[in-house]
Symmetry: C2
Subunit: 363 residues, 2 copies
């Protein structure tokens, strides 16, 4: 049997810098743990636009469809700010999510003990935090039609459409409940059912799916209250289920709880392929960070932990994923810090590749 | 000349309890400062539904249109959870906002020195915080058509429409810039222009309006990043300008920064009436708090500070508003605390009316 295939799309800004460290880890798994991957690399975002005039070439899209997993760095940057909406770097990422039908975006927000002091929040509020946000990723206002800027009378109007079918809600909800079964057995579904009919349907379907999981405690919360509760008392949550737009905002809010966005991985999963593996794309939650690009300062941990999620969700290597996560925890406990994690007096930050060295040494 | 008119809509849950304290303060202003109001009272939300079968009767709507200012308590509660969407308590509030055309919702998030310890955030991140969120309140996905739950093939689909015209964005933006001129001269506009065309138009119009205010520094931020920055470093902001839905979530997120939702007032302003006063509705940001209703525990400060905003924005009584705000600060500095503000050892909470007593005494 051939090795599983990994398509790597480093993208823009710090994407290639953090991805370089992930490649070293991938090599280590091949050499030391007999987990070899067929790795290929391609362009996405501004990098793809520079070469092809589009943020994702059709050939790259086809490769992504065939890969056992896709690993993405980051897209975007000020050089592309004035591009037309249709070719913006972000459209490359959105095309991948949509055409691969990656409906379930898993965003863990975990507070590493060694970093509890870095959070904006008081330590007792975040210490030991371990929540999982499940964000629907292929529908809602991100993709609904009609959309655009239209003439109306003597002015223009900007329109987007929030749109959810029952089956779209159902499959996202099911993935949240499945995760909850392997975790704390609680799902909190967030919408604005008091204001939006799409939220009423969301709540109804989440409730119906919940009946298939009698062991899981389901609660509902308005998304505005959800944002507040995330800051007030985040440990009340286990799995949070929400839509594309609310998930975007709530997961960034949750991200800040853990101290640094440089720490947070994500997995975007679709339906199983012929080989039984889900279609999957893994990426750090952070962006391309133009302000620190090229300075060797970027924290590679979010991208490395995204690869750990790939080991767990695409390759059924849960214990190898644990190994990698433990190595990261070890390094943090040892006080190794990239610049985004500073705060303590007298600690000198390590570079992106030195963080890679430390994690490899801990493995 | 007759006295200015105030329509009071206590609403549901703790609404009537906190409003009772506001009425004492209104009386005090009439007796002691020669500021007399013609006060009338009516029903909204569940209370209106119980009597009229709708969450806002037409006669009440007409009274609100004519009042110099409306003061609202809170709407909603578990007794109304199973009502049809069209008669839910929230629809009463949304009808007021829409028909009075209250396009500019001002939500200050201010951290009182005496309460900095109550925030979930570390003290240095929030001490001295003073930001103002300007939320567009009459359009966007709250009101856009088409909306509803429809049959499609063999399933249902929930649809809402995000919709902004240039003039709707313009007037909200203008009110943010006007406020910024009297504050820190900074506006940060938040949308998702990387994903939504309505956000592109939003950014464009905000930029255009900004040109009329060369002294004000305008920046743009994606709303997801905005949520993160609010938790990371909220003091970077002065005025935040955003749409109806993002404003709902971001202001609740900001609310938590200040320690207690029981502290936060809001003003919803429309176009000037014949007498030059803007159409206006004032309400606390908190809800009806069914869990503590009827126990005399509610914090009346948010509602009292909403009346202070009425003094400032409807009645041109800025120094009387300052007087009331100073009285509130004084009482907090003296250590008077309702139950929501506890945390220190050995402090006994005061009741809703005792908090009213203390503020009256400090006036
Ligand atoms: C880059 C952008 C299109 C994207 C989104 O809005 O989904 C990002 O914010 C995210 O959360 O992955
Ligand atoms: C009660 C509800 C309709 C309302 C809203 O969503 O606007 C509330 O959350 C608010 O922020 O005023």
């Amino acid at each position: 049997m051939s090795n599983p295939s990994l398509l790597i799309l480093p993208g823009d800004g710090i994407g290639p810098e953090v991805m370089a460290q992930v490649r070293r880890i991938i090599t280590w798994y091949g050499d030391k743990r007999g987990l070899a991957f067929d790795v290929s690399e391609d362009l996405v975002g501004g990098a793809a636009y520079d070469k092809h005039g589009v943020p994702l070439a059709d050939e790259t899209m086809a490769k992504a469809q065939e890969a056992d997993a896709v690993l993405l760095g980051a897209v975007g940057g000020p050089a592309y700010d004035d591009l037309d909406f249709s070719v913006k770097p972000e459209r490359g990422l959105l095309r991948l999510r949509k055409e691969m039908d990656l409906f379930s975006n898993l965003r863990p927000a975990q507070c590493f003990d060694a970093l509890a002091d870095f959070s904006s929040l008081k330590k007792d509020i975040v210490a030991g935090l371990d929540i999982m946000i499940v964000r629907e990723l292929t529908s809602g206002v991100y993709f609904g039609e009609p959309r655009g800027i239209f003439e109306e009378g003597n002015e223009r109007v900007g329109i987007n459409t929030q749109r959810y079918t029952e089956s779209e809600i159902e499959r996202a909800a099911r993935s949240a409940f499945e995760l909850a079964m392997r975790r704390g057995k609680k799902v909190c579904s967030m919408e604005k059912a008091n204001v939006m009919e799409s939220g009423i349907l969301w709540r109804e379907v989440a409730t119906r799916v919940g009946k298939e999981y009698p062991e899981v405690e389901l609660s509902h919360m308005y998304a505005d209250n959800g944002a507040m509760q995330l800051v007030r008392a985040p440990k009340q949550f286990d799995v949070i289920l929400t839509d594309n737009l609310f998930g975007d905002i709530l997961s960034d809010c949750a991200a800040m709880l853990t101290g640094s966005l440089g720490m947070l991985p994500s997995a975007s999963l679709g339906a199983p392929m012929a080989n039984g593996r889900p279609k999957a794309l893994y990426e750090p939650v952070h962006g391309s960070a133009p302000d620190i690009t090229g300075q060797g300062k970027a924290n590679p941990i979010a991208c490395i932990l995204s690869f750990a999620m790939a080991l767990r969700y695409s390759f059924d290597q849960g214990s190898e994923a644990d190994r990698l996560e433990t190595a990261v925890e070890q390094v943090l406990a040892d006080g190794v810090r990239t610049a985004d994690l500073l705060g303590e007096e007298g600690v000198t930050p390590v570079s992106t590749s030195e963080m890679g060295d430390a994690i490899l040494a801990a493995l």
